[in-house]
C-alpha cells in the first residue's frame, strides 16, 4: 500500500517531465523560428500577396530572388558589388580583430610587461561608452582622418569595439596553455615573435576562431556606422540597400525579405561551420 502511494507522485512527476520535454522544445522552436519563417513566407509570396493571410504560399514565387540575382530593380542596381563590400567588411574585421586581440592578449598573459594590466583595464573601459553613443563624434572624426565614406572607417569602429572582448576571451583561454611550452621554446632560442607564431597561435586556434566569428557577426550586425559613414554607392554595403527598402514607402516587401535572407546566409553558414570551435573557444576556463 505504501509502495503504491509513493509510486503515484513519482508517476505524476514522470508525466509532468514528459509533457515538459515536449512542450518546452516546441515553444522554443516556435519562438526561434517564427521571425525566420516570416521572412521566408514573405520572400516566397507573389508581389501584393505578402499579407494575404496564408500560412504557406500555395505557389512558391522565386521571382524576388531572381530580381536580386539579376539586379533587376533600382534598389539592387549594384547588389553584388555591395554584397562584396559587406563580405570584405566582415572578413577584414574578423582578421584584424584576431590579429590585434591575440597580440595584446599574448603580452598580457604570456609576457612579463610591467603595468600591462592597464591595457586590459583600459580595453574594458571602452564599453563605458557603447558604440551608438560614440557614433556622433566618430562621424566627425572620420572626416578628419579622411576615412569618411570608406569601408575602413566602419571597420575601425567594429574593430575598436570587438577587440576588448577578444582580449578578454583570449587572455583567459591562454591560461589553459601550459607555460612550459613557452619555456621550452625560449630555451631553444625562440624570440617572442616565434613563440607567438609557433606555439601561441596554434594552441589558441579555438579561441581565435571564436573571437573571429564574434567580430564577423558584430560587423554583420552593425548598421548604424554603415548608415552614417557610407554615403556614396562605391563603398556602400548590402545593409544599406535593406535600409533603403525599409524607409521607402513603395518598396516591394517580398524582394526586401528575399534580400534579408540572402544577407543572412554568410554569417549563418560560417557560424554553423565553426559552431564547435565557438563553443570551445567561448567556454574553456569559463569559471576561472
Amino acid at each position: 500500500m505504501s509502495l503504491a502511494l509513493s509510486a503515484r507522485p513519482r508517476r505524476r512527476q514522470g508525466i509532468a517531465v514528459r509533457i515538459g520535454s515536449i512542450v518546452l522544445p516546441t515553444l522554443l522552436l516556435i519562438w526561434t523560428l517564427f521571425p525566420l519563417y516570416n521572412i521566408l513566407l514573405i520572400a516566397l509570396s507573389a508581389d501584393g500577396d505578402e499579407f494575404s493571410g496564408e500560412i504557406w504560399p500555395e505557389d512558391w514565387n522565386w521571382r524576388s530572388f531572381q530580381v536580386i540575382w539579376e539586379q533587376g530593380n533600382e534598389y539592387f542596381a549594384n547588389f553584388w558589388h555591395q554584397f562584396g563590400n559587406s563580405l570584405l567588411l566582415g572578413l577584414s574585421c574578423m582578421v584584424v580583430t584576431m590579429l590585434i586581440g591575440s597580440l595584446a592578449a599574448f603580452v598580457l598573459g604570456r609576457m612579463r610587461l610591467r603595468h600591462a594590466w592597464i591595457v586590459s583595464d583600459v580595453a574594458l573601459a571602452t564599453y563605458a561608452l557603447p558604440s551608438a553613443f560614440l557614433a556622433i563624434p566618430f562621424v566627425y572624426l572620420m572626416r578628419v582622418y579622411g576615412l569618411s565614406d570608406t569601408l575602413w572607417g566602419v571597420a575601425a569602429s567594429v574593430v575598436a569595439f570587438a577587440t576588448p572582448y577578444a582580449i578578454l576571451i583570449l587572455h583567459q583561454y591562454g591560461k589553459l596553455i601550459p607555460v612550459e611550452l613557452d619555456d621550452a621554446a625560449r630555451i631553444d632560442g625562440a624570440n617572442p615573435l616565434q613563440v607567438y607564431l609557433r606555439i601561441y597561435v596554434p594552441m589558441m586556434a579555438p579561441a581565435l576562431v571564436a573571437v573571429g566569428v564574434f567580430a564577423l557577426l558584430l560587423a554583420w550586425n552593425e548598421y548604424l556606422y554603415q548608415f552614417l559613414l557610407l554615403t556614396s554607392s562605391g563603398d556602400a554595403t548590402a545593409a544599406l540597400i535593406i535600409n533603403d527598402f525599409f524607409i521607402a514607402d513603395e518598396a516591394p516587401w517580398n524582394e526586401m525579405m528575399a534580400l534579408a535572407m540572402i544577407y543572412a546566409l554568410p554569417p549563418i553558414v560560417i557560424f554553423l561551420a565553426l559552431r564547435r570551435f565557438m563553443v570551445t573557444g567561448l567556454t574553456q576556463g569559463a569559471l576561472k
Binding site: F51, L124, L134, F138, A156, A160, K175, N221, A260
Partner: protein, 304 residues
C-alpha cells in the same frame, strides 16, 4: 555533504588561486621591445578610434546649456524612462532565460543538440534581417499579428506599435530574441566547465537536483552571471538597431531610447551637440557599471 564540499572547495581553490607570471625565462631588453611592439596596434586603435572620439564627444557635450535644453524637451523624460526599462528588462529577462535554458541544453540527447543549433540561429542572423521581419509581423493593420487577430476575433487589434507600452514590450522581446542565444552559449560553457565529480560527490551524499542547483551550480556561476549582467547592461544601453528597426520610435517617438534619440537629434534634426548631450546623460549609470566590471574581471578573471 562533506564529500561534495571537499570536492567543491578543492576546485574553487584550484580556480581562484593567484597566478604566477608565465614568462619565466630571463626577460631581456629586446623582449620589452617585442611586448611594446605587440601592444602598439591595439593602443593605436584605442587612441584613434576610442579615446579621441570619447574626448571629442565629451567636448561636444560639455556646454551646460545643452543639458538645460535637454531637460526642457518634454520628450526627454519619456526617453530616459524607456531606456531604463529597455535595459532593466532586456538584460535581466535575457540573462535569466539564458541561465535556465543553458541548464536545459546541458541534458543529453541528439535532439537537444539539434535544438541548440537552431536556437543559436538568431545570434548568427544579422539584426537587420531579423528585425525587419519582426517589424513586418507587428506593423499595424496588415502585419501578421493584427491579421491573425482579425481572423480569430473578427475585430481590429492589437496594434502593438500604436501604444508606447506595447511598442516597448515588442522592442524588449525582440532584443531578447536576438541576444539570448549568445548568453545561453556563455552559460552553457560555464556549466560545462563545472567538474562532473562535484555533482557526483553531491549525488553520493544524497543531494537532489535542486540541491545541486542551489549549492553547486549557482555559486559557481555567480561570478560569470554578474559579469554577463554588467557587460550586457553596457551593450544594451548602446543598442540602436532594435528600436530603430522594430518600432522606429512609434508611436510618435514614444518608444525611442537614448541611442535612437541622440542619433535622430544629431542627423535628422542637425543638432549634433544635443545628440551627444542626450547620450552623455547615461554616463552616471554607465561609468559605475564599467568600474565594477573592470574590478570584477581583474579580481576574478572571469571569461565569457
Amino acid at each position: 555533504m562533506s564529500g561534495t564540499h571537499q570536492a567543491l572547495s578543492d576546485r574553487l581553490v584550484s580556480y581562484s588561486g593567484p597566478r604566477r607570471s608565465v614568462w619565466r625565462m630571463p626577460f631581456k631588453g629586446s623582449d620589452t621591445a617585442w611586448a611594446v611592439a605587440f601592444l602598439v596596434p591595439y593602443i593605436a586603435v584605442f587612441v584613434a578610434f576610442v579615446l579621441y572620439p570619447v574626448a571629442f564627444g565629451l567636448w561636444m557635450g560639455s556646454e551646460p546649456d545643452l543639458y538645460g535644453w535637454l531637460l526642457s524637451d518634454p520628450l526627454y523624460p519619456t526617453i530616459a524612462v524607456n531606456t531604463l526599462l529597455f535595459v532593466a528588462f532586456g538584460v535581466n529577462l535575457q540573462l535569466f532565460g539564458a541561465f535556465l535554458l543553458s541548464g536545459y541544453f546541458m541534458g543529453g540527447g541528439w535532439w537537444r543538440r539539434v535544438l541548440l543549433a537552431i536556437f543559436l540561429l538568431p545570434w548568427a542572423m544579422p539584426a537587420l534581417s531579423a528585425f525587419i521581419s519582426i517589424h513586418y509581423m507587428v506593423v499595424s493593420q496588415w502585419g501578421f499579428f493584427d491579421s491573425l487577430w482579425l481572423a480569430v476575433t473578427g475585430t481590429d487589434g492589437p496594434f502593438l506599435l500604436l501604444s508606447r507600452w506595447s511598442a516597448m514590450a515588442t522592442n524588449i522581446l525582440s532584443y531578447i530574441w536576438k541576444w539570448m542565444p549568445f548568453w545561453t552559449l556563455v552559460f552553457l560553457g560555464a556549466r560545462m566547465a563545472i567538474p562532473r565529480d562535484v555533482y557526483e560527490a553531491a549525488a553520493v551524499d544524497g543531494a537532489r537536483p535542486l540541491d545541486a542547483l542551489l549549492h553547486i551550480t549557482i555559486p559557481m556561476l555567480a561570478n560569470v552571471y554578474l559579469v554577463a549582467t554588467l557587460l550586457s547592461t553596457l551593450w544594451t544601453f548602446g543598442d540602436f538597431s532594435t528600436v530603430y528597426f522594430i518600432s522606429y520610435g512609434a508611436p510618435a517617438r514614444q518608444s525611442d531610447v537614448l541611442a535612437t534619440y541622440g542619433v535622430r537629434a544629431a542627423f535628422d534634426f542637425a543638432q549634433p551637440r544635443q545628440g551627444v548631450a542626450a547620450m552623455m546623460t547615461a554616463l552616471p549609470l554607465m561609468i559605475p557599471v564599467t568600474i565594477l566590471l573592470i574590478r570584477r574581471v581583474r579580481r576574478m578573471g572571469v571569461q565569457l
